[in-house]
Symmetry: C2
Subunit: 206 residues, 2 copies
Amino acid sequence: MATTDKPADTEYGKEVTPSPIPPPASGGAPPPWWSVVVDSSYIDVILRGLLFAASVVAIVVIVTGDQTELVPNPLTRSVEYRKAEFNNSPAFIYFVVAFSVAGLYAIITIFALILKPNFKIKFLLYFLLWDALLLGVVASATGAAGAVGYVGLKGNDHVGWFKICNRYDKFCRHIGASLAVALFASIVVVLLIWLSSIKLHRRIPK
Amino acid sequence: MATTDKPADTEYGKEVTPSPIPPPASGGAPPPWWSVVVDSSYIDVILRGLLFAASVVAIVVIVTGDQTELVPNPLTRSVEYRKAEFNNSPAFIYFVVAFSVAGLYAIITIFALILKPNFKIKFLLYFLLWDALLLGVVASATGAAGAVGYVGLKGNDHVGWFKICNRYDKFCRHIGASLAVALFASIVVVLLIWLSSIKLHRRIPK
């Protein structure tokens, strides 16, 4: 018994990381099927990696969407070259800023999880608090860009806002693709909050 | 000792509600100043009440903002009456639907907390999961309505979308007031998530 009680990872400390989180009090019932996913220490890092990747893709796709087209000018009754780019609209600028913050936050938390595995149970709460704030930022940015993109796609006859996607097709394709990735990133943030909540709840003794 | 160990609330059960949540394991350190707020069982109901009130106010203010004005029609070179109302824009419709869901959710959870006080520790987790989803809905609705409202306020010269708030002043005042209340409601949902997270974390034995 004494040999098994002694910590076995003093020699191979870099390979076998001791788990700082005590296993959840399961009682007598067998653990549910999803407990493997929730108790894994990698799922948090994987989700944050997905959030980082999605943020970078969303930014790159919307920034590279600028398109120059010949557009008739009703005032001068002539045609002229006009460029559509993301920073024509404050909503798209907010979108890029919000996902820059999300990508940076994802990187910081990944490094924190990897470099300081002993702080995991403290991180669970801190990350949950920051994740909630980030969800607000990311979801509102997706909503704002989506609303302006929808006006660009369909126009609004009631107030005389013309659609622009019939002319700027490449620009609108980039906006749409970026919005789809942004929606995925928002769902990842919701999953991160769910995961941390379930992990916290499972540490409470029954 | 035996008299104090006996539950004292058998006679006055309606006045003294037994707390189903065990007090947090505080160790030897004195509890921090904010623990009074976090441990209170009323703060959750109060915040959800605020969420309900804010949702109702946001909906009522945006729905009652319709305004009819004489507007020049450039096609017929005449003036005509045109009505601005919230359901001219899909973003505002989404806004009203999202805050209807938020108000309904707030009412349901308030009743759940009041009628089933014994389930509080289970509710903590379930409410946290649903609150995160609601934050995504409410924040994206606020962002979407805010982006369309901003285009209405400032216009967008790059794509030729005219501002409408110089003409429809009452309509825009209602939109702006509704957005301010919606922002408050979103912050309340973030606070609800923070509160549940801290409550969960404080039940974990150190």
